[in-house]
Amino acid sequence: MSDAPALALSNVSKSFGAVRALRDVSLELFAGEAHALAGENGAGKSTLVKTLAGVHRPDSGQVLLNGEPVVFAGPADAQQAGVAVIYQEPTLFPDLSVAENIFMGRQPRRSLGRIDRKAMHDATRELFGRLGVALDPEQPSRGLSIADQQLVEIAKAISRDARVLVMDEPTAALSGNEVARLFSVVEALREHGCAILFISHRLDEIFELCQRVTTLRDGEWIASEPVSGLTHDDLVRRMVGRELGTLYPKQDAEVGEVALQVERLTREGVFTDVSFEVRRGEIVALAGLVGAGRSEVARAIFGVDRWDAGAVSVDGVRLPAGSPTAAMGAGLALVPEDRRQQGLVMELSIERNIGLTGLRDLRKGVTISRKAERDRAKDWAVRLRLKFARLSDGVGVLSGGNQQKVVLAKWLATGPSVLIVDEPTRGIDVGTKAEVHRLLSELAGQGIAVLMISSDLPEVLGMADRVLVMHEGRLTAELSRAEATEESVMTAATGRAA
């Protein structure tokens, strides 16, 4: 093995119009090391990944492969050079089978160059076995949960036997069990001499998996150093550039009357007999493993899915099944799980997206008041410390975390009395995470009832007044703040409770 880094960037800059996403950034990835890339939302991590992957061409600077400068004309070139990439947003073919998604373009062949489907399915099963994934290779990837999509992406990258494995927030949608599996597989690859670049906003994961870490701030390189000498706070300071307060600023709020009441809610084959209530001023967490049916319950309550039996009432008023409009009218708001498909209209601007939930309120006569629309957007952009160039920019160019803030803004602007948030801090950096938590706590303080779905257990324990736990479509436990511990929540989530 030579001493030159397997893959490196030297003095790379990349701009999008007026936005300078990367400025003079250098990074060296050595064979056999797991290297973390840390930085706030919009720091330029994904841009760096896409530069390594041949999606973006650097404006200046070089990509070096084994010390030699290379130019990747497209993703195919990078793949050819042994770079496998898991992008931040899943990039699957919804109509094709999971196995075909993994092996597209490099399917096992039999005579005459024909595809050997059996070999392909066997290889997929073997991969899934290593990752502990219970998916059928022949099932189409349409309809997979975000977590399952992420797992397929991981399997795809690993199957390439790459010399460099780049992972942009692969764990954002996963719960602990899956993360543990992923890490053991990645560890094995690393020991075989693979170079790993790993991005995550969960700092513990960085400390667990990686040997070195490079920090970016506002597109600039801050530091590259061994992980071993660092503390959490050191890393946060490098990322944010200032000291950070507590991550879980939960204040006790006065608990009022029942705002959201769910009675024996059932959707055939998805969840059964779910009953609970959320009071004003309360933050109730809905915990459970990925696939337990939490998001599905939220969707049904909000009316985007129908329910088959049961009832939902907000402030004592019963909601009709299957009508988000009615739910909004009653004071419900849902920050959905999948921001690209459900949360945002990517082609529209920031202000249009924030205005979308208030088309009635923004009316002046029959037409929309542009000023009101802009004011509403500006107000919330400032309150959530959104990082943007212009409100008329498309949300599609914002970094993942900033997109999530736009979704929050869009719903908070409706002034809801019950706020349902589904994975509110997925893909959000520590600084913003603390802000979102502070915000949720404040909202509860103002008498809003908050139902929070989260796969992040410390978040659940840190923020919730009460924890509801689901397992396979049923509520298995209700724990008070005092009763809720990692142990007790996980016991209920895995169905081991008596």
Binding site: V345, T367, S392
Partner: protein, 328 residues
């Protein structure tokens, strides 16, 4: 990139070029009489294009419009033959169009079928019904006061009634599309239907309404068409759905939904109309007209793309400058 060389701007420029060329080369071109003729000759396509614009912005399409036009014409003919008064016939024909639109809309929204497939089916169905209603006869001799409504000018102006109607409707659609919450919803639905639904927008209801509007407008265009030519036939307007789509696409409305302006569509309609008129004045054969229309479509989409491919960097700089100036 969009700001500098937008598609609809491009079409507007082409429009001016054609107009200038026409006035220079043909003395009879830029006369009020000729222009109003050119416009009313295009009246039905223009009317239908208004409704179609809203549909396409919402990422749907209605290919059955020409057949609805034919059905409406056939209804007018056969009911007139049966001795009904025109005053009763017109509402019946228009209502039938609304019903046709309702069927399209229900199939699309209730069953979740793609509108392209549904309206190809109803394209055959409604045209077939037109033949069922009227056979291959032609009915003529409509009362002169109604015929004159379809061809005469608004008193004191050189503007024919159908054109005046188009201007009125265009103003309404323009406001609806670009300044109301309903218009905002259409763009959101077209760009990302699921997100629109999650934002509490009644996606299905809105789509249903659009199809009903489209059917209604097409049927009304059928009435105008019948009176203008003074002849009701089942095959009236055969194949104009493609001309309507051409006008809408020429105007820069993205067939994938979520993009486009009414101004662009109007420019597109006018461009096609003036060009046809100019070629007609120059005694150019219909086949050349067809070629020119086709080339126009291709050139109008190709030019902005080629420019942006040629010098993306320069354009990008220009864009950010333009944007900076444009921001309040």
């Amino acid at each position: 990139m969009a700001k500098v060389l937008r598609w609809d701007v491009m079409v507007g420029v082409l429009l001016i070029v054609v107009f200038g060329y026409g006035s220079l080369t043909s003395p009879s071109f830029a006369t009020a009489g000729n222009l109003s003729f050119a416009l009313s000759d295009l009246g039905e396509i223009a009317l239908i294009a208004l409704a179609m614009t809203m549909l396409v912005v919402a990422a749907e399409v209605d290919l059955s419009v020409a057949s609805v036009l034919g059905l409406s014409s056939a209804l007018v003919g056969s009911l007139w033959d049966a001795g009904l008064a025109i005053e009763t016939i017109i509402p019946i024909a228009v209502l039938a169009g609304a019903l046709c639109g309702l069927v399209n809309g229900l199939l699309v929204t209730r069953l979740g079928l793609p509108s392209l497939a549904v309206t190809i089916g109803t394209l055959a169905l409604y045209r077939g019904l037109a033949y069922v209603v009227l056979g291959d006869r032609a009915v003529a001799q409509f009362p002169p006061q109604f015929v004159s409504l379809a061809v005469d000018d608004v008193p004191g102006t050189p503007i024919p009634y159908p054109v005046a109607l188009f201007v009125l409707l265009a103003a309404i659609v323009g406001v609806v599309l670009h300044a109301t919450g309903f218009g905002r919803s259409l763009y959101a639905i077209g760009a990302q239907e699921q997100a629109a639904f999650f934002a509490g927008i009644r996606v299905k209801r809105i789509k249903l309404l659009l199809f009903v509007v489209s059917g209604t407008v097409a049927a009304f265009a059928g009435v105008v068409f019948t009176l203008r030519y003074g002849s009701a036939r089942a095959d009236n307007g055969l194949g104009i759905e493609l001309a309507v789509i051409a006008a809408v696409l020429l105007g820069g409305v993205d067939f994938d939904g979520g993009k486009g302006t009414l101004g662009g569509v109007i420019a597109g309609v006018l461009l096609i109309g003036l060009l046809r008129n100019l070629l007609m004045l120059g005694d150019v054969s219909t086949e050349i007209q067809s070629i020119v229309t086709g080339l126009l479509l291709i050139v109008s989409v190709l030019t902005p793309r080629l420019v942006s491919l040629a010098k993306p960097a320069a354009l990008l700089r220009a864009t950010s400058r333009a944007n900076l100036k444009g921001s309040p």
